[in-house]
């Protein structure tokens, strides 16, 4: 043991420590950029980045599952671990619950998309509210008409963000922002966006695309391009893209959350 063992990681590849620092937004701009560029051209590091991201998502989902559905109403009690998790989750869920004063969507789109996760840690997530229950949504999430979504973003640096969707009828919807151009966002982890949507009665699969761009993208052009390209839609130049899938089916009002595939 140890006398014959060798490291498998090539010297030029990124260590888990650096990936962890990147995810925690601890790196300076030049180091972050160097890492992101390496990840884009290195198959091995790309796979590692994705595997680590998926593990983080799974851990986060488990954490959310450990605390009461409404930690504010239920109070926080239990062992220290539960308390720690609850502190973290309460902050996030409280923000989401406070902001889940929803305005119905007028355009009638629903959602779905391949669950590719962008390089460099830029991605979206969402809280899903059904009745008085709130949970964090999965990257492929089964939903029902009337469910309410509140999106969060994580970005290691300031970008311009737009969230759009393409439903099974090929209708395009703009989830964020409400203005005509992509909105500037500041660096952060799980930052809740200032508006939410309520899903209408349309059924089927809807792809939700989040575009993190260097410039404030015109949404009219984005809408037209997404409608034209459909499922083949790719990130415009200067943007990175994250994608989620919502599968909407009719369920009973009391049907519990069904996360679908992660």
């Amino acid at each position: 043991m140890f006398s014959q063992m060798k490291q498998q990681r090539p010297e030029q590849c990124i260590s888990n420590l650096r990936f962890d620092a990147l995810a925690a937004d601890e790196l300076d701009a030049s180091e972050r950029q160097a890492l992101e560029q390496h990840v884009m051209r290195c198959v091995r590091c790309h796979a590692r980045e994705r595997a680590l991201s998926e593990l983080r998502d799974r851990f986060d989902a488990q954490e959310r599952g450990r605390v009461p559905a409404d930690p504010i109403a239920s109070g926080v009690r239990g062992k220290p671990r539960t308390w720690l998790a609850a502190v973290a989750v309460t902050v996030a869920v409280a923000a989401a619950a406070a902001l889940l004063a929803l305005s119905p969507r007028g355009d009638g789109a629903s959602a779905v998309a391949p669950t590719e996760r962008t390089k460099g840690g830029e991605h979206i997530a969402f809280f899903l509210k059904r009745g008085d229950q709130v949970q964090r949504g999965a990257r492929e999430q089964n939903v029902q008409p009337g469910d309410k979504l509140r999106f969060l973003y994580s970005a290691p640096r300031a970008r311009y963000l737009a969230i759009v969707s393409l439903d099974s009828r090929h209708q395009v919807s703009i989830f964020y922002p409400e203005s005509e151009r992509a909105e500037r966002i500041e660096p952060g982890v799980d930052v809740a966006l200032p508006s939410a949507v309520e899903l209408d009665g349309a059924l089927g699969e809807e792809r939700v695309y989040a575009l993190f761009c260097d410039v404030p993208l015109e949404l009219a052009g984005l809408r037209a391009e997404l409608g034209k390209q459909g499922a083949a839609f790719g990130a415009p130049a200067g943007c990175t893209m994250d994608a989620l899938v919502l599968r909407r089916a009719v369920g009973s009002a009391t049907r519990p959350f069904d996360q679908g595939q992660r």
Binding site: S3, M5, A24, L84, V189
Partner: protein
């Protein structure tokens, strides 16, 4: 208090998954890994001065997590359980397969403390000598020497086994 809670919540949100992942790799047991997460963050909450901004928080948490896991591996009551554990992590995350990880755990509980820590960083985490030096707060040369001592320890163990 509200500010402290929010600060802890932020740190927890950013780092807990990493602490859990490393604890799971080192201990091979989900419940034990969860307890390490609890211990690490409760300790940070109770004694925030231990971080003291001497390095990035990630680097500090690697050190604290490693110590917490090594203590558990050396705990007589838990040793047998942990050495049987075979939890798989994606190969992209941990280079060693479950069988080899289990053997490494067995070796870690017999190694002198400084060498055990280096073994974790070098062979399980696959960190560079410079990164290990940052965590340990020593020179890269010192880390290189410790890796050499680790290999020598391994050869001694193999020789002892062959002699039996």
């Amino acid at each position: 208090m509200a500010e402290a809670s929010e600060r802890i919540a932020e740190i927890y949100a950013r780092h807990a998954a990493s602490v859990y992942r490393r604890a799971l790799a080192l201990l091979g047991d989900d419940a034990e890994a969860n307890e390490v997460v609890q211990d690490v963050f409760v300790s940070l909450l109770e004694r925030p001065e231990q971080f003291a901004a001497r390095s990035q928080l990630s680097t500090f948490l690697y050190s604290v997590t490693t110590h917490a896991c090594l203590n558990r591996l050396r705990n007589q009551r838990k040793r047998a359980l942990l050495l049987r554990s075979r939890v798989e992590l994606p190969p992209a995350v941990v280079a060693l397969d479950a069988e080899l990880l289990a053997r490494v755990r067995g070796a870690l509980q017999r190694l002198p403390a400084p060498l055990a820590e280096v073994a974790v960083y070098y062979f399980v985490d696959e960190l560079s000598l410079q990164e290990i030096a940052e965590i340990l707060g020593c020179s890269r040369k010192r880390v290189s020497s410790l890796v050499d001592q680790l290999a020598a320890w391994g050869r001694e163990q193999e020789a002892a086994c062959s002699a039996k």
